[in-house]
Amino acid sequence: MADPAYRINVWINEERFARLQNSPVADMVREVFAGLKVIEVPVSEEQKDRILKRFPSAKCDTATTRTIELLPRAAKDLLFNLVAENRSVEVVDRFLETVEAQP
């Protein structure tokens, strides 16, 4: 996806980083804020609206960072698992399929 409208930052601790070894996604891990690892998952406008509808407590910072923040921990874990299993950051459609199928 070229120039995504929005992003979800998946913050990477040691445990998550270990799961990405030998995956092409490891090369997409960036370091920000003087040593914090992050993977940026691209999100389209339409996907952003669906995510905010499914997770009302989440917020889209349209002014500063253009990121979707405050997704519940379980949702972020699912997103990371999809990234690790699919060896790709293009996982938001599958993420939405999963969470929208849940009651």
Binding site: F33, A34, T62
Partner: protein, 424 residues
């Protein structure tokens, strides 16, 4: 002094610190004869704030003339600047059932205990949509302040209140509760003549820390008063305990010297009124004795309702309040400067790494410890301790926290209050 003119810098708004506290023994004598009206959380908090003078010169809930002047001219009927209506709402049916008439004195109760008397000077209605349009600049119900306005019942009772039962603040709030009089006494005891206020509802990250340090330099201040608002919470907010103890930790861990920093709290339900709320915050902190108040980007804003710097511009559009606004731009992490940098100084804007409060919360939600450059480890540790001790495992407000949190304050039966006063 002419209404609306400048007070001397350290005087309260309106020139006199309001204190409306009754002797419990005297109060109990009268209370049995009064109609008791249970009040909601917001009204209880506002009774306490009015009675101790946080809202000076207000002596009670506003009548129609004050509400009308606030809504349309952002001032009280007497001309003093005021930006947010402070009202007590009841339904017409409740007023009929209680038999309340103008001229009556009623007893407001909370937690099943007496709280304050209200001398009902008038009962009136007001167009809530008109109120919302002027105060919030929108009538959209998704704005939390508008929603709060629309939730008011259909009648308002204006009149002076008198606190008859002083609240007892529970740990850890008891360490941070100071009345305006006590706050001023602390400033005086510490020799602080220039104090800059920091309004917050967040656990501090380095952007907040540097906002405060920058304002301290800018104001040539003796000290910083961190004054978090404690009021209605929403799911996903930081829990109040983490906010207060996190800020206090910045000083305990030495990021601020002991003699330049203090933390107290304000009972207030955020209206998210952007520039109008900025004016309100300035007035309240003036009443605490502050000489300066810092305002960052999007102060007290929500969504995209207000321009990023609307709260900066408003202070040039109103009479001098006697508390100086310290207007600040953004602080960010700059990989070129290899540190926290200020928008007004850093020439690497295209490489900046902005961190909003939401970004930091997102990191914590992921269970990741942020680098000390952007979030102090001592603050992280105390926030996580608060999660265990007060937050049912998380530093963020949950439904469980809303249901079962420890109360901020408790009202005791009046005879216990009398005994407390006698001992005191």
């Amino acid at each position: 002094m002419q209404a609306g003119s400048v007070d001397n810098t350290l005087s309260p708004h309106g020139g006199k610190l309001v204190e409306r506290l009754a002797d419990p023994a005297v109060a109990r004598e009268r209370l049995g004869r009064l109609t008791a009206i249970p009040v909601k959380d917001q009204t209880a908090r506002e009774c306490i704030s009015i009675a101790y003078g946080f809202f000076s010169p207000l002596e009670g809930f506003m009548g129609r003339a004050d509400v009308d002047a606030v809504v349309h001219r952002m001032q009280l009927a007497n001309g003093y600047v005021w930006s947010i209506p402070i009202v007590f709402d009841l339904s017409e049916q409740e007023i009929a059932e209680y038999g309340i008439r103008a001229g009556d004195t009623v007893l407001l109760t909370y937690q099943g205990q007496p709280l304050a008397t209200l001398d009902v000077e008038e009962i009136f209605d007001y167009d809530k949509e008109e109120m919302a349009r002027h105060v919030y600049g929108t009538t959209e119900e998704k704005h939390p302040g508008v929603r709060r306005t629309y939730a008011y019942k259909d009648r308002f009772l204006g009149g002076r209140i008198t606190l008859v039962n002083e609240p007892v603040f529970n740990p850890p709030y008891d360490r941070f509760w100071l009345t305006p009089r006590e706050t001023r006494q602390r400033f005086e005891a510490n020799g602080w003549k220039r104090v800059v206020a920091h309004q917050t509802r967040n656990v501090p990250h380095s952007g907040h820390e540097w906002l405060m340090k920058g304002a301290w330099f800018n104001a040539e201040a003796d000290a910083i008063l961190v004054n978090p608002v404690v009021g209605e919470k929403r799911v996903g907010d930081y829990i109040d305990e983490a906010i207060l103890l996190g800020h206090d930790m910045l000083r305990q861990a030495g990021y601020f010297r002991e003699d330049v920093h203090t933390v107290t709290m304000l009972l207030w339900d955020m209206r998210y009124a952007g520039p109008r709320e900025a004016v309100f915050h300035a007035i309240v902190r003036k009443n605490l004795g502050c000489t300066h108040h810092m305002f960052g980007r999007d102060h007290a804003g929500v969504g995209t309702y207000y321009d990023t710097f609307a709260a900066h511009r408003i202070f040039s559009e109103i009479p001098d309040l006697g508390i100086k606004p310290v207007l600040t731009l953004e602080w960010w992490y700059c990989p070129e400067c290899a540190g926290i940098a200020y928008e007004g100084l850093c020439g690497h804007k295209d490489k900046r790494q902005a961190f909003s409060g939401s970004v930091i919360r997102s990191i914590l939600l992921d269970g990741v410890k942020p680098p000390r450059m952007i979030f102090r480890p001592e603050v992280f540790d105390v926030v996580m301790r608060c999660a265990d001790e007060y937050g049912f495992g998380t530093p963020f407000v949950t439904e469980e926290y809303l249901r079962n949190r420890r109360p901020v304050f408790t009202l005791r039966p009046l005879d216990a209050a009398e005994r407390r006063q006698a001992v005191g």
